[in-house]
Amino acid sequence: MAENVIVVGGGIVGTSTAYYLAKMGIHVTLIEAQDIAAGTSGACDRAIMLQSKAPGPMLQLGLHGARIYETLEDELEADLEYRRGGGMILIETEEEMTAIRELVERQRQAGLDIALLSGEQARELQPGLGAHLLGTTWWAGDAEVNPLKVCFAMAQAAQRAGAAIRMGSKVTALLSERGRVVGVEAEGKRTYADAVVVALGVWTPLLLRTIGVELPIVPRKGQILVSERVPAFVSHNILSGAYIAAKHRKDGGKEEAQNPAGVGLSLGQTGSGSLLIGGSREFVGFDLSTTPQVIRAIGQSAVRLFPKMAGMRVIRAFAGLRPYTPDGRPVIGPVEEWPGLYVAAGHEGDGIALGPATGRIMANLAIGRPAGCDVAPFALSRFTQ
């Protein structure tokens, strides 16, 4: 059994993995190139939304994650701005109605009792919605959290439990001996361990490539607008049907031609009162720029769904890189050809919801314990064989 584990990457997945390992008494070193939450986990939204997960393994992992969040503030002794306020998927067209009816049916079969409400009921539940809205889904179990706070709280709790955290230290090589990974090299310094967990989000392929392992994680950019502070405006997670279509769509379809930047509204309000208005889904490599066309398109979809928002001010915009995989599922598990090496990455737009659950599973796997749930759907071998 491993007694000594290195976790590479200080996003939500890496800090969660380090925390659960330290909690089990394992000697952990977390190594991060810049700072905690410097990557995607510091440039994203705040939804822990189960409605939007594909029924099957992703929904199962989501349920596992949602249960962890219910008690996480107590466990980490920190305010995470966790709020279980429910969630809606807004329906604007008959086409969306058909697709969302089908999604709701499948979610109900999986045990999520999502309601389908009329436009009128929607406007009652969420004042400010436009008159053209045909309806909405509603599920009271959806929640939200401040992802920055989760990362910092996980890192601090890991430290309190004995983990060492090295920031400003970029891992450039994986060290191997006799066909086994035995450590990492960062800033010229070598560190050895029984197991190495790579939790580098969109940067994961860059490090694994140095040891001959290819995996298909690519950055999928999302741009988000931030409003000035406004009085309580939304109290739950809101997605538009167009957002869901962009999330689950296949490349090259008609939808892609009409909406190349994958713009679909997501809306939430932070603890400080700003609205986070998203978002886009773009394959443009590691580019993190915000672009006027996409900002405009996001703003327009917000005003279309919430006419009152025309009078609110946007104070900034930012972009983050979702770690996309071709089948929409993350990679969580060992690298078969390299004993001692593990990967936990590729959560695309669901890493905040799934990060703590992934950390718990990964911590168990890295020390040779049972995962505690079915991880076969997340095996790296589905891409390498």
Partner: protein
């Protein structure tokens, strides 16, 4: 010592920024993510210079590295959503 407000927009005090630096923030974005300093309507135009100085104590010879600054982000000025 009086605990002055460094970021006026977000009401962030000197002690909070010092605490963030002790926790490992090594550049402006790290202070911003831990304290919200720089996230206000002025986008750090007022507070960023001071935050940078605090990050550089004891003063480093390298001076301001462009990496330490937050990226300027569009829209540069607060804009009405209806005008986008």
């Amino acid at each position: 010592m009086n605990d002055v407000i460094i970021c006026r927009c977000e009401g962030v005090r000197l002690s909070e920024i010092e605490q963030a630096i002790r926790e490992g923030a090594s550049a402006v974005p790290g202070v911003k993510k831990r304290t919200r300093a720089g996230m206000g309507p002025c986008q750090g135009r007022v507070c960023q210079r001071v935050v940078l100085q605090l990050l550089q104590q004891p003063p480093s010879e390298a001076g301001e590295s462009p990496d330490a600054l937050q990226r300027s982000r569009s829209p540069v000025r607060p804009t009405l959503l209806g005008d986008l």
